[in-house]
Chain length 376, copies 2
Amino acid sequence: MSEVERRARAALSRLTEPGDPRLTNLVAELGAARLYDLLVNDRDAGGMLTDVAVRLASTDPDRELDRANSLGIRFVIPADDEWPTQVEALVSAGQLHERGGPPIGLWAKGPLRLDRLERSVAVVGSRSATTYGVQVAGELAAVVARQGCPVISGAAFGIDQAAHRGAVAMDGPTVAVLACGVDRAYPAAHTDLIAHLAATGAVVSEAAPGCAPTRIRFLARNRLIAALSRGTVVVEAAVRSGALNTATWAGRLNRVVLGVPGPVTSAQSQGVNQLIRKASAVLVTSGQEVLDLVGQAGEHLVEDPRAPVRPRDRLTSRHRQVLDAVPVARGAGTDSVARTAGLGIVEVSSALSYLHRYGLVEQDDDGWRLAALAHT
Amino acid sequence: MSEVERRARAALSRLTEPGDPRLTNLVAELGAARLYDLLVNDRDAGGMLTDVAVRLASTDPDRELDRANSLGIRFVIPADDEWPTQVEALVSAGQLHERGGPPIGLWAKGPLRLDRLERSVAVVGSRSATTYGVQVAGELAAVVARQGCPVISGAAFGIDQAAHRGAVAMDGPTVAVLACGVDRAYPAAHTDLIAHLAATGAVVSEAAPGCAPTRIRFLARNRLIAALSRGTVVVEAAVRSGALNTATWAGRLNRVVLGVPGPVTSAQSQGVNQLIRKASAVLVTSGQEVLDLVGQAGEHLVEDPRAPVRPRDRLTSRHRQVLDAVPVARGAGTDSVARTAGLGIVEVSSALSYLHRYGLVEQDDDGWRLAALAHT
């Protein structure tokens, strides 16, 4: 059973981009195995097939998993003990932010188990770091890793590299989360660093082996770094920096967000200084302060408050069409609602999530049904 | 009348140290003129006389004011239009903190009127500043002063000097608050700077002309800088720095407290970074941000909430002795209570303030009487 699930998730991981909430909503409702069968067998299942038909034809999940295995790469799924459950915080984030859904599975290489990342600290920052930033990131990561807290970063130039190195220098645990397959090295200049992390810590990605890094995957990678770690420290970041994107995700996920200040005359500190200024990050000056603040954070992270209910008449015509197809009494599955509405399953799933969020439909054991609110 | 008051305050300013709440409480109750007469004529008035007898004998307020006048120094008192009313925030602070009372008067030299300081910004920091700190303080002060906001500082080496210079470079208003008499220059190396400020802006002190700077006067000066300005910016400060003392006073007085961050590797930024970290100061990176935040601050500054009431049995025996001398029905003046208690007027005044703060005595038109709470 678990291996059927793994095969299906491996195939889906190859078929779609990380964090796509259309996919993760369907997986949550139908299960990965059933969704995969649906996509393979029912060529009328909806918009998704037309998106992915080409990739689907060339996908052989068994061979893919075998090949990964031969490279020392495992594919960790929610059913595994090793699954880092903290990434489930992305389930609700995925309802609110594009590409914010939870990972379908994590490709991983290296001896460090992913369920050990529960108390990890992300250390991120500029690729074009200054010597100041590199020095501080390295020392801070060393202090954190020496206490056994895994240091997560993205293996990029600058702050990322300094953070991994600081942890490695202490023989401390450190993990690189990549935007490409874990069998690839990006940037190429960090081939040795990434190989070292794969040999001593872990290298992790949502992208299947062989995948190239893309802009979408970098953004999804940032959200994954934030979701895996208990707190994110931004060491240096210019005003437009990927590290600020990671910090934003950490904030959305109610993780601790920390920033190392720098000279107001340094462009590389401008983004962090503003983050602290707006109270989006707490100022830290040392690894010990990071440990104190990350340690204070509770085991159970607070979820964002729910969005307010909006009246039915503010729905789009497409959403109203789906709402009209939802049964009043006993629930129906997404595929049944889609047939009634005459719309594709992917579009209907997304509409049902939207309607659910605003309290207009409910879910029971049989599927979707109209909520009391929607009658009015 | 006003000149009688000025003479009395000038004498009292020479007789006591700045911010002494024993003095300011008595002045508030009795008026400066009556208190001065009491001290001159009634040699049994209490502990204060023994403290100040020597100084009193050598004080001639008329000659003092004439001499100051001939040096271009004026003595500004609360009855004057020029009085900077924002320093009255120290009246309640003086009840809670030693040496926190309001000034008895301000010795001033220079064309800038003190009532123009209502929208001023204090820029303070380390004497042993780095080139980074000096650069940032100068630029920040220049931007603030160019907008017509007076820049207040202490004419010390390092950040203070840079702040004054930045304002001067823009022909903007700037004021030095000194711990010594305004006819003196401390540090001596800043004789020219202080003379320039006296010629173009203002030099201000609570200490009478000729007074030397002392530790007590430096601390009192810091509180005055905070009280005069609407917001205080700390540019660089090591962990133990007078600038942090100014920031603490600004916080107590509900003024805007701002901090310029610096490298975590710089000892000169450690104090400011910690101030920001503990949310005791808002991080700022430019003069414009300072203006935005200081401009946002309302005209009417919020007072601290009152301290909780404590039971009578927690009083010292001396406080209880004073409490027992306070009449139950019609109020009595401090001197009357002092006679009944057989204690000095200064000690009794201080005890009455303490008892008043905890709700055990009340004040009516006739003076002090027991509060309902004290009967229990």
